[in-house]
């Protein structure tokens, strides 16, 4: 609305065009095309950061075109303060993924780059979609490219990891589809996400819908009992695949909770809060403990992801301003930091062809630059003050504190454990006694690898020292999400005494207003 230029469609089309171009170019230029497409996308996305108006919770850069007539489904896109940082993170990470795959991928380069680009389109689409069906289409459309990325270009046990990833996520999202249909019939025959967020649903129904949403989003996050696909997928995926998974794909789950579960199903969200908090804390502690025991670097980072994503879901479900803002910030932070860690593992894997900690000991001497980057990412991941994760985790814990002091204390243990497993890893990998037969072959970072890692480090310190630009942009949207939760949304059927039709009328008026305003 602030601008009639179709920014978001351009964002979606550019990578897709690059993917289609892959079928017409030779293998040798595929890398350059992919880099150009992702960088062009980044150039298109960056102006949005300044064009974005942080004073409002309205969707911005909206596009609204009829897609399917019966039932009414729209090609409807827009960004608010929650999705803007995630979209920018996505377009920022993707060029790094292409760069990281420059030498690592030697077979079927065109196919690989095409899949990476299709993933980019689908992921931006998930964060920008304002129509539930459109969201679902993007959500599912990334299954096959990711399946192929893991299965074709992955490690030794890739077939198992690929199908496990595919089936876990598909099974979860199938229930989401049913829930979408139910919402359509109870929410006034619309798939419009904003309108559905203003609707009222019977409390009993909300519980079922929440569980269906939970099935889809918790698998993606992944929350504690549903996390088992993650270590497998991470370990077997090529570096770019791991980065995409960790940095962006996992955020789609928490984004789903924030965009759908909280505003659409406030009663159920409140009802399930204790369970969600407990699951989050289990994930924090359990993920950290598992990470302590790992001998494989990628698996260690994968379990640390489970732990860190536990902080995000914890922040979301304490249902207050600090918690949610911390959670959104932590989504971005985790994308930056864990992306950096996976890139580091990829770099060392290209040299030693092993991801085992025991095979990569004492890198400080042969690879000083690399060691510096690894230490920075590790310190950021454990939440050292001055780095990005400190701000995010701090906000989450502040939010949790007002909900339950015990929960805060237990969750804080996760930070201590994170310091333990990360510092222990750094101690061995960076400062350990090197094994002599590796030393002669190890060369330090080349220019490409250096360029890949530098932007992430800059972001780590920028957010660490001055998070205000991001937080101020999401502030209004988070306030709006909480406001839409706190309104009386129980339908008259559930509480006959609760005041009849008044809330319904208010809702429908506001619904019109919001629908009108967003277009």
């Amino acid at each position: 609305m602030t601008n009639s230029f179709p920014w978001l469609s351009l964002l979606l089309v550019l990578p897709l065009a690059g993917a289609i171009a892959m079928s017409f170019v030779p293998e040798s230029t595929a890398r350059w095309i992919a880099l150009a497409a992702t960088l062009a996308d980044l150039c298109v996305a960056l102006p949005l950061w300044w064009l974005f108006d942080p004073q409002t919770s309205q969707m911005q850069f909206t596009e609204h075109v009829a897609w399917i007539n019966a039932p009414p489904i729209y090609y409807s896109l827009g960004l608010d303060g929650i999705s803007l940082p995630l979209v920018l993170m996505t377009v920022g990470i993707m060029p790094l993924c292409v760069l990281a795959s420059w030498n690592a991928i030697t077979t079927r380069v065109r196919g690989f780059m095409a899949m990476v680009l299709v993933m980019e389109t689908a992921m931006i689409g998930v964060f920008a979609a304002l129509d539930f069906v459109l969201f679902y289409v993007f959500w599912e459309a990334m299954l096959i490219p990711m399946y192929l990325l893991i299965g074709v270009w992955g490690g030794a046990n890739r077939l198992y990891a690929a199908i496990k990833f595919f089936l876990y996520t598909l099974a979860g999202s199938m229930l989401l589809l049913v829930a979408i249909f139910v919402m359509y019939y109870y929410g006034g025959h619309t798939f419009d996400i904003l309108a559905l967020s203003q609707g009222t649903y019977p409390a009993q129904l909300q519980m079922w819908l929440f569980l269906a949403f939970f099935a889809a989003f918790a698998v993606k996050v992944p929350m504690f009992p549903f996390h088992t696909w993650l270590p497998d997928a991470h370990v077997e995926a090529p570096t770019a695949g791991s980065v995409i998974l960790a940095s962006i794909l996992l955020k789609m789950g928490t984004y789903g909770f924030l965009r759908f579960s909280l505003p659409m199903l406030p009663d159920a969200s409140r009802f399930f809060t204790p369970i969600m908090v407990v699951l989050s804390i289990i994930a924090i502690i359990y993920g950290a403990y598992m990470a302590l025991a790992q001998v494989d670097l990628k698996k260690l980072i994968a379990y640390s992801s489970v732990s860190h994503m536990g902080f995000v879901t914890l922040g979301l479900f304490v249902l207050n301003q600090q918690g949610i803002e911390g959670a959104v910030l932590q989504m971005v932070n985790h994308g930056i930091t864990t992306g950096g860690l996976f890139l580091c593992v990829g770099i060392i894997y290209e040299r030693t062809h092993s991801r085992l900690i025991a095979d990569n000991v004492g890198l400080a001497a042969p690879m000083p630059q690399y060691a510096t980057f690894l230490v920075i990412f590790a310190l950021s991941s454990l939440g050292l003050p001055g780095t990005n994760s400190f701000v995010g985790e701090f906000l989450v814990l502040v939010g949790t504190f007002s909900w339950s002091k015990i929960a805060t204390a237990v969750a804080s243990l996760g930070i201590i454990l994170a310091a333990t497993y990360l510092l222990w890893m750094v101690q061995r990998v960076v400062f350990g006694v090197p094994s002599p037969h590796h030393l002669p072959t190890l060369r330090d970072l080349d220019q490409r690898e250096f360029v890949t890692l530098v932007p992430l480090v800059l972001l780590i310190f920028w957010i660490g020292f001055y998070p205000n630009p991001i937080v101020s942009r999401m502030h209004e949207s988070v306030t709006n999400t909480l406001a839409s939760m706190s309104r009386e949304k129980v339908a008259p059927t559930a509480h006959p005494s609760a005041g009849g039709t008044a809330p319904l009328l208010v809702d429908s008026d506001e619904q019109l207003e919001i629908q009108g305003g967003s277009r």
Binding site: N69, P71, I144, I163, L167, L177
Partner: protein
């Protein structure tokens, strides 16, 4: 009863198909083997003509025309199916050509039988009289029995034909028994009279229920719904691949068309009863079909179970139509069934076309393992198969997703959200065996022990048809509006 010009005119497309079938069979003995292609192109030409005629009827005046004293009714509903059947048959003929030559069973009467089967199907979709529907069913089935056994040198083909014939005849007998009971009740075999008789006799009449069950069983055989699916895997595996494709698509679509008309127009008063019956059948079909498909190693057998499963999804839509009440009635459910079958036809035909193309040292490569490394040797064929498999699994943005979307949306609207949830969980199960094909194609290396590396047989026409199928699967996935509005408009017949 005398013949009127208007009757013949109404059935002009059917007549063209029958006459062409006779001409093809008559020309076959005097056509040299080298020029048998012409018979195929003659058939395709006739189909194109019919397609044009029906398309013209739809665009000019899409109203109900009754013919032959109300034995057949050419209405919007029938025209939808006719358009689908012409296209599917034309595609089958085009994909048969290179396949039959490679299998060395390129016989002229093949095209004659396909057209005869088609004319049976055309009768099925437009008949409004139980006996006429029965005649159409038999014409279709007998042609299919013959074509299943076309590959006389292969014992498996003959076995399939015999099995199909025995079980098919058995199911036809059951169907006929049900029809005779209804005739006894209503004194007529016309659907409208039967609906009236059921109205006056009430729905509790045990005789009515028995007749309904018999007819349901008879049709369930044709639809290959569990527990009446036993013939499907053997027949699909044994029949020549092009015929398997034709059976999985055209015969299923026509059977569903007749089935829906009988149950909605004739037995609509018993909605509450048969929707429970088909609810159970659909769940059985989804569970058994999906679970058994997982363990298949032969891709034709796997697709046979997959076609059983898809019948289950269609039945979910049909149950939704039966349970739907209120303003929309069963319209969303029926429309979803039509959308589903139309999309199912194109993705299944595409998959079978790729299977038929795949050759392994003169033999047909129909084990899933034969696809190993296809992405390296034939990237385009592998990509097409990937699209068709993704569509069969219902992954957006393919048309298969749109198909599932409408069926499950109708189910939720009819208050069957739990059924949609169960069916979609099994859809996730089905993704396993579809994705296994993708996995074998893209992530396995070709089997080094195989003597001759698999190749492809193809023809320009087949490439064109495959391109159309894959474009259809993607375009209907992205822009389903035309298909959806066509189906919605066609289903108004039942309002």
């Amino acid at each position: 009863m005398s013949l009127y010009g208007t009757d013949l005119l109404a059935l002009l497309p059917e007549l063209i198909v029958v006459v062409t079938a006779c001409v093809v069979i008559a020309l076959d003995p005097i056509t040299p083997a080298s020029r048998r292609d012409l018979l195929a192109w003659l058939s395709v030409g006739a189909l194109a003509l019919c397609l044009g005629l029906t398309g013209w009827q739809i665009s000019v005046e899409n109203v109900r025309v009754s013919a032959f004293s109300d034995l057949v009714a050419i209405d919007a509903y029938a025209r939808f199916w006719k358009i689908l059947l012409y296209s599917v048959t034309g595609v089958t003929i085009v994909l048969s050509l290179p396949y039959l030559k490679a299998e060395r069973i390129h016989l002229g009467e093949y095209y004659g039988f396909i057209l005869l089967a088609l004319s049976g199907m055309l009768v099925m979709v437009s008949a409004v009289d139980l006996l006429t529907i029965y005649l159409g069913t038999e014409l279709m089935s007998i042609s299919l029995y013959v074509m299943t056994g076309l590959n006389r040198s292969k014992p498996r083909s003959l076995e399939a034909s015999a099995k199909y014939f025995v079980l098919g005849a058995f199911s036809s007998g059951i169907l006929l028994y049900g029809i005779s009971l209804l005739y006894g009740l209503a004194g007529s075999t016309k659907l409208a009279s039967i609906a009236g008789a059921i109205g006056t006799r009430g729905t509790d009449d045990p005789l009515v229920l028995i007749a309904t069950i018999l007819i349901a069983v008879g049709f369930s055989f044709k639809l290959a719904a569990v527990p009446f699916h036993m013939w499907t895997p053997d027949v699909y595996q044994g029949a020549p691949t092009s015929i398997t494709a034709f059976m999985a698509v055209a015969s299923k679509a026509a059977s569903f068309a007749a089935f829906i008309r009988v149950f909605v127009e004739g037995l609509g008063g018993l909605k509450a009863d048969w929707s429970i019956l088909f609810l159970i059948i659909s769940i059985l079909t989804l569970v058994l079909g999906n679970v058994v498909a997982i363990v298949q190693t032969n891709i034709k057998r796997m697709l046979a179970y997959s076609s059983i499963v898809h019948a289950g999804y269609v039945l979910v839509g049909f149950v939704a139509a039966g349970r739907g009440d209120g303003a929309s009635g069963g319209t969303p459910g029926l429309a979803s069934v039509m959308i589903y079958l139309a999309i199912y036809s194109f993705m299944t035909l595409g998959a079978f076309a790729v299977i038929g193309m795949l050759r392994k040292g003169g033999m047909e490569g129909e084990e899933i393992e034969d696809f190993a490394g296809l992405a390296k040797r034939q990237p385009l064929a592998a990509f097409l198969m990937l699209v068709f498999m993704a569509s069969l699994a219902g992954i957006p943005p393919t048309a298969g997703f749109i198909a599932k979307f409408y069926v499950f949306m109708a189910a939720v609207e009819a208050g069957l959200a739990w059924l949609a949830a169960v069916a979609l969980i099994f859809a996730a199960v089905s993704a396993y065996y579809y994705m296994r094909v993708v996995m074998v194609m893209y992530m396995r290396d070709p089997n080094p022990s195989s003597v001759a590396p698999p190749g492809l047989v193809t023809s320009p026409a087949l490439s064109f048809v495959l391109a159309c199928a894959v474009a259809g699967v993607i375009l209907f996935g992205l822009f389903p509006n035309p298909l959806v509005s066509f189906a919605l408009q066609s289903v108004l017949t039942f309002k």
